[in-house]
């Protein structure tokens, strides 16, 4: 039966040969091409998908920034005791400067007006 079927197929192949001569009109291909949409800017390969790595990176950056802020000394104002201590040191430095005749230079230090005035008074008194 297989051989007969094959023979039949050969005969049918010949029989149908004239029907293979059909071709589309020549302009159909160009018409089809002109109907194509503009190239897709967002293609499947360029679409960013949800990624756990991206989430991890973003979270890490946020945590790092938060820690930087939390431990930043700028965030904490100096307490009163520290300020007094700093003033005492500055006063000592100025006193030393007076002792070595360099008051004019030392007075350029950025200390509060009050302190300077007090020191000047002290010096004058001395």
């Amino acid at each position: 039966m297989t051989k007969k079927t094959d023979n039949n197929e050969e005969e049918f192949n010949k029989l149908f040969a004239p029907l293979r001569g059909l071709t589309p009109r020549t302009s159909l291909l160009s018409e089809t091409l002109s109907r194509l949409p503009a190239p897709l800017i967002v293609t499947a390969s360029s679409v960013r998908r949800f990624s756990y790595m991206d989430v991890a990176r973003y979270s890490g950056a946020v945590v790092f920034a938060t820690l930087i802020l939390l431990f930043s000394p700028l965030l904490y104002p100096m307490n009163v005791a520290d300020e007094v201590y700093a003033m005492e040191i500055e006063a000592e430095e100025i006193a030393d400067a007076v002792e070595y005749d360099s008051l004019a230079v030392e007075l350029e230090y950025d200390v509060s007006d009050l302190e300077v005035e007090m020191l000047q008074l002290d010096l004058l008194g001395a």
Binding site: E11, F12, L22, L28, T32, L36, A44
Partner: protein
Amino acid sequence: MESFEILVVRAQAGDKEAFGQLYSGYFTPIYRFLYWRTKHKETAEDLTQTVFLKAYEAMSAYKSTGAPFLSWLYTIARNLYLDHSKKKKSILPDDPEIFWDAMAQTGPATDKMSHEREDREALAGALAELTDEQQEIVILRFIEERSYEEIAEITDKSEEALRALNYRAMKTMKSRLKKKYKEEL
């Protein structure tokens, strides 16, 4: 001409020129398949354009899996035809004059050509009397000259089933054409 793979990559990136080169070789078989399925010139043209527009849109998703590229196009064409036939069952085939004018003919009409045309009409008539499934296998097998393996891929049927279907189709056609072609078959 660039290699098939390069053209596919370029077409996938939205390159129309590459798409044109890629499909110019496949345009005629797809049109011919749809023409013989619909037997209506305008419908075949519309469906062919739709096949290629759909293929263009789906290019980025197309992955060369070793299957023939043409089979992928036939599958799109087949699905479109099935959708179309479900929606528009009442469509009438072309008038025989229009139908056969679509065939390439050169030179003045002769008696021989007239006989050939009669033969083709008889053949097309016998084809049209087959069931839809049988028409599909006969068109793919004898007009499109596809292998059973390719047809199985396109139609999602087993090769054995297709062979049996084709055998029955040939038997039916043969009996219908017996009168006219008894000296040939």
